[in-house]
Each structure stands twice: as C-alpha cells, then as structure tokens.
Amino acid sequence: MTMRITVTVNGVEQTREVEPRLLLTHFLRDELGLTGTHWGCDTSNCGTCVVWLEGTPVKSCTVLAVQADGRSVRTVEGLETDAGLDPVQQGFVECHGLQCGFCTPGMLMTARWLLDHNPDPSEQEIREAISGQLCRCTGYENIVRAIRWAAEHPAGSVTAESAEPAAEQPTVPAQATPADAAVEEVRA
C-alpha cells in the first residue's frame, strides 16, 4: 500500500507515492536526494536528522513522511539563499564548529531556529538548545562559539574582528583586509 503525499521542501512542492511507514528522513534522503539530512540512531537521541517541520525543529527519524503531507519542511539545503550563506553556516566555518560534519546539518537547523527565537542567547541557552543533539568530535565548545558568532553577526558579514590574527600566520603577503579565504570562497 502506498499513499500520495505532497510536502513543500525548502519552498518547492514535492509529490510522491510512499509507504505509510516511510520515515521522513528516508523520504528526504532517498526520495528527494537531499542527503544533507542524516540518520544516526533511530531513538531520537543524536539529532543528526533534525529538520524543520512547519517551522519547528523535529527529529526526522521519528516522523513519518505521511505526517508531513500538506506541510512545509526546511532542511540544511534550504539555509543558503541567493544572498549567500546563513550566518550560522558562516559561524561554523569561522569558529571551527565542525569536524567530521555528520552532526553539522542538524546543529545548523537548531541553531537557526534558536537565533530566530532568541537573537542574543547566552552560552547556557545555546547549550540547552543543542542538548538534544550529539557531536562526537568537537566537545561542543566550538559549536557554542559558532552560534554566538552568528548571533553577533546577524548579517553574516566577515569582519576584521572575526578574522584570524595575522600575527599567527607566517609570511602573510601584504594585501588589504585579512579575511578568511575559506569563507570567501564559499560565499563566492
């Protein structure tokens, strides 16, 4: 048995015939090819599968695709716009908020939601916001800093203050503003 569902994913209507038991995370990954949303545990503990459903973060391994019928979903692929990267994406680059990258999409989605609802969160508020998600690489320190960076740079601009101290980079050529090449490259 299959059911016909229509889900608006990152602003685009998607209609598919799916089994009622299909998990939202598998719908996004296998049916739509949006593999930025990951699967990690089956028990709603790790949060690598976090997406927005009707504007609220959910763990998409614990939501059926049919429950998203007629509703909107936003995934990590929907963070970047024509105007550029979301500041939370930039913050993770600026502050080394990721290593293996597996938890990153879920963390980014929660971070964006947090800042939409609390533009100036304290360190403790950030830790509580991401406490339903696991990261095995960063010890959370730089994820917290990355979200703070995004809070402090709502326009996402890369400023001199956020750039690495030039003194720590040997033989820096005499060029204008020291900014980070990786971020410049991804913004380009």
């Binding site: 080394h96 090449a181 490259e185």
Partner: protein, 793 residues
Amino acid sequence: MTTVAERPAQHLGFGRMHRKEDARFIRGKGTYVDDVRLPGMLHGAILRSPYAHARIVSIDTSAAQAHPKVKAVITGETLAGLNLAWMPTLSHDVQAVLATDKVRFQGQEVAFVVAEDRYAARDALELIEVEYEPLPAVVDARRALDPDAPVIRDDLEGKTDNHIFDWEAGDRARTDEVFASAEVVVAQDMLYPRVHPAPLETCGAVADFDKVTGKLTVWTTTQAPHAHRTVYALVAGLPEHKIRIISPDIGGGFGGKVGIYPGYVLAVVGSIVTGKPVKWVEDRSENLMSTAFARDYHMHGEIAATRDGKILAVRVKVLADHGAFNGTAQPSKYPAGFFHIFTGSYDLQAAHCQVTGVYTNKAPGGVAYACSFRVTEAVYLIERMVDLLAAELGMDPAELRMRNLLRPEQFPYTTPTGWEYDSGDYPRALRLAMDIAGYERLRAEQARPRDDGLLTGIGISFFTEGVGAGPRRHMDILGLGMADGAELRVHPTGKAVLRISVQTQGQGHETTFAQIVAHELGIPAEDVEVVHGDTDQTPFGLGTYGSRSTPVSGAATAMVARKVRERAKIVAAAALEVAPDDLEWEHGRWQVAGDPDRGKTIAELALLAHSNLELPEGVEGHLDATCVYNPPNLTYPFGAYICVVEVDPGTGVVKVRRFIAVDDCGVRINPMIVEGQIHGGLADGVGMALMQVMAFDQDGNHLGASFMDYLLPTALECPSWELGETVTPSPHHPIGAKGVGESATVGSPAAVVNAVIDALRPYGVRHVDMPLTPANVWSAIHGRPLRTDLAIP
C-alpha cells in the same frame, strides 16, 4: 564574488586557517557512504543472533527467498562453499563472517538478505527461521578461565579453555626486588570498562562488482583504505589491482572503522552474487552491539615509593576481555598493544606488567576508541596509582607528580619497559596547567566548607603517549610495514596536487596537509589540492588511527615537498644561469645568494620546468616527486590536565565545573584544528569517566545497545574547555610535529576520576570504577561499591 584584486590573505604555512572541507559540510553536500546511490543498487540487511552463546540447529530461509523484493539470501553455509565463512583478524585469530556452528555473542551475524530497498530487506529478516540451542554464556571475564567455564572457541582445534594469551613486559625480578624493599606500597584493583566509540555515522559499505572488467569498487567507512584493499585481496582471492576502496566523507571514526567487519564482506559477496551494487549500512543497535569495542581491562596495580614521595616502581596484572574472537585491530607485535607504556611520565627504577587475554561471549575488538593502542588504559592505571599513593603519603598529588616527572635533560629517555621517549618538558606543562587553573587558590577554596553541601574535587592527570605507528621493527599489519607514501605534483601554473595514503574522518587533512606543502614550498595552501581516501588515486599507506597521520603522513608530505623544492632548485639554477650551490631558499623562493633581487618562486619555476628551458644533462622536466616515509620512532606527545568537579553527596551527581588541558604535541601546523581535536577528546574523557559503559546481564544480553542506554555526553555535561600549550618539537620528525588526535581521550578520564575521588575523600572512598554515575558514586559513599560492567544479582 571574490575577485583577484580583492583576494584575501593567503596561507603560506603553519597557523590558523579555516578548513577547506567546511564548504561542503555546512551545505549538507558531504558524501558519506549512505549518500552513495548507484543505478540498480540493492540493499542488504543482516540477521543477528539474539543469544550470546547458542548452537545453531537449523536455518530456514525459504520464506525470505520467496519475498517478492528479495534478490538473495546468504547464510554461513553459502559462504562456507566460497571458503568465506571465516575471515582472519588482525590479531592472528579468525572471526565468523556468518555463523555456521554456533553464535558467540549477542548481535553476531547469522544471515544476509539482499533486497530491492532497505525496508524490504528488513522485512525479509523477519521471515528467516533460525532454531537455536542456547548454551551458558561466559559474561564475566574473571570467570572465563574457571575449569567449568563453557568453551567458546570450540571451532579452534584442540581448544579446551577460553585462554588467548599471556604476555609480559619489563623486568619482573628487578621489579619484585624494588617492591620488596620499598617503604611504601599501595595496591588497587580497577576496571577500565568496556566502551564503544559510537561515531555518529555507523559503519556501512556500497560494493559494486563489475563482472565484465572484474573490478570491485567498495565505498566504505574505513580509516585505512589501502589496508582494506590488501586484506580483501588476501581474503577473497581477488587480484589487488582489481580492487578499489573509496573512503568518502566519514562521519567520525575514533578507531571504530579500522578493522574489516562481516557487513563489508557481505556487501561484496552480495554484489558478486546478484551482479548489482549492494549497499549495507548498519543501524545504531548493530553498531553498538557488533562493531569493535574498546578497553575492558581488569587491572591490579601496585606502586612502590619511599616515604618522602620518590616513586620507585610499578607493577600490574591485567585480565583483558577480548570478546568472542581476538579481533583487536592494532599493528604492534605486542598482544596488549602499547599498554607497557604504563610507567607514564615518571622516572622509575623498575616496572613489570603481565597481561592475560581471555575469550568471553561478547563482541570482538579492544582498541577501537582513540586509545592509541591501549595507552589509555596505561595512563589511567598510572595516574590513579599516583593519586592513591599521594593519598597514602598525605601529599598533594601535584607536588608528588612534580617530584617524580621526568626532567627535560633526561630526554631522549628509555623507559624501564623499552619505549624511547623523544622529547619533553613535563614540569613546565604541569606548572602551566596549575597556573591556568589557579591550583593553590582552588585547594584553598576546597578546604572551606560550602553552604550548598556540595563537595569540590580537584583531579590531575599527566600523560605521555606514543603515537605515529610505527617503526618496522615493532609494528606491522599482516606483515605490511607501517610506512606511508606521498605524491606531490606542481602544475605549470604553480597549483599543486598532493596525494596521501591517510584518510580523514574529521581531522581536517585537506587543510593541514596543504599547509605543510605551503610551509615547505611557499605556495598558498589554497593552491594545494589534497587527494585522499581512494586507493586508485593515492599511494600506499596504512591509514589514519592511533594519531598517526601527522607523525607519519605529515612527515611524508614534508619530505616529498622538500624533494620538489630540490628539483626546483635545479630549474632555478638553469633559469638564473648560476650554479645550484649559489642559490639559497629564502621567503618561499630560490634566490641568488648575495643578490636577493634575482630569484624565482615555486610557481615561476613550475612553469619553467614545463617549458623549453634547457635543463642540465640527465635532469627530467616537470615538477613532481614521490616519497615513502618510514618512521624511525614514535612521537611522544604529552600533557597536564586538571579537572574540577562538584559532587552532590545526597544524590551522587557529578558536575564537571572546569577542565584545564595543557597539551604539548610539538609544532602545531594548524592550532585551530589541534584545539578542536583536544576539545573532542576531552568530551570523550568526561563521557567515559561519568556516563559511558557497555554492561551485560548474566545471559550476555547487551545493556547498552542504543543511545537511550549507552549515554554519551551532550553540551550540558561538558564545561567550556580551558586550553594551554607548550611546544617541544619532536627531534626526529621533519617539521617537529607529534600526533594529537587521541591525546585528550587518552589523558582526560583519569583527571575526572581523580577529581571525584578527591571530592569523596571525607567519606573514605579510595576508588570507584568508571563510569561514575550517580548510582555508582552514591553507592560508594554508602560503602557498597557496585560492579559497573555487569548486572548480575
């Protein structure tokens, strides 16, 4: 859009640089194994044993075979026909790919289904009927050698017990002599419990066997793609040049993705049988129950000292639980890995260890969690023993350590068990950690009673690791020496491609290794593409684990870049019409000595090397080189950690308030990445000390088979880490670097435990085994210590 004119500062060497790999990950554009989709791809799933120990009476797959979406069902019998039912482990044992005679741990692989989609494959598992005859299970390692213990490995000819090995290191007689005359001897039993690395990405593979070309391509979660290729060739009899292992983006490894798991082999067999690509990705319970664990060391430690605090000797007896197959994925010739580095950071007269390995009805493994091949257990042992000695002597544990640490002038230093420490300034690191912590002030605060009834504890650990496996005389994998290759090619326009054998699981190799080339050649790191994780595109080498990438492959990268630089010198001499000896390397270019206006950069020389410039007789054009690096020794990073905890004696709840970590990993290529690695390891240490354990009940049922039961630290359990650094370059590494990836995981658990025991001193508690959960701490306070590894009434 960034234009050339606006081009930001480029990174010409070591220092903080944002990671090149981030651009894809922050967009959700990484490619992990489960993201790989091939045309016609099928999906595999594994039927696993519900029993820890049972004889297989029969397996009926007929209903599963009849499922309309099922393409193949493979059992141990199928594999036996292909001579693939058993595979060799890296510790000279064999492991069942699919069980034929018995199942030997809960979660062991019994059958493999290949179906059109992942849901159908799971459905078909339910249709397989297996009749088991349950057998008594060996769960408690301490009972494994009892005369009446059931024999687990009756597949091994003549095997009548569960004994694997006895092994010792150090000088037993000399150690006993020192102990016999020592003024003070302190002894303690301690368990480093079984834990699992639990990377967020589970293990998996996509195997694609092309019948026409005979080529097998496997996208797989491996930290060691070249080693896997050779093992597949040896095990499956496939020609090695027809095997391509691709390790794409890996969602964390931590040592759990080094060995070859049955699921990988089954995906390959499934593809050969069906003629289609087959994907197999395990779920979280499968990951926790069947892939490699770590630790499970039952240790009895003793430390001998003078009354005034001079440590003289250490000895230890270990009972090592290796699970049902001896599948420890470690490359040394020693069955206990590097455990005999347990003399730690101290100047001792003698030391001796004896390790006995046993089989139990649990999953195989042993070193799969950032342990640097059992250095973790060694550091935990010595650092707990030093704290116990300090308590016995009534000395401050910092003072006792300071009095016994190796002094800078003692390096290079050979330990009583034979390790050759390369460099270090230990007292400086401990002093710095104490200064950052405000140690004396903390002790004063601790002495004052608190209004809230909480207890403060301060714990120290000092560790020395040996990383960068490794020297050929001690180490190999199935006879393969642990040398790693590097290839560097500079294109005519001065952009370069570096190909390396090691593979990143988040360590940032694409950035760090580009920085090494930049440092050596004076071209921007942005202009160096790093290729890794694909055996068809990279030189041979044994992979990334045990913090070996920078010590071995980083050295290979520096050496190959220097070869290119020397080649460029010849081109420069020809172009500048001087003798090579008249040139000097300054500011990232070859220039004429005494005439610095005349010089050429690598980019200029690359174009010249490809041009019609006339080169000296016998000099080939172009600008590239290859190199293989044989590490002459391990590198020995070290560090001083201080943990401050609060313990609620009413509930047993422990809160880590502060954690100070001073690491010395020699020269830091990218300090940002180094600090990130340390942060992650510290979280692991807090997790292992306070939360993580894989316990079993009396029937061998796994009590930590999901993230609801196997607790990992979140952002709320972790404090904001306080880091410091000292830099003592490695004298034998080309750029003076040492490994760092596992340092914090190795060094930090002892600091947390020492802090909690320090807090519990008013209750007379000497020791509590990890994890220090509220229940375990509360029970210890009330004089009823629990065994943390078993739930046996």
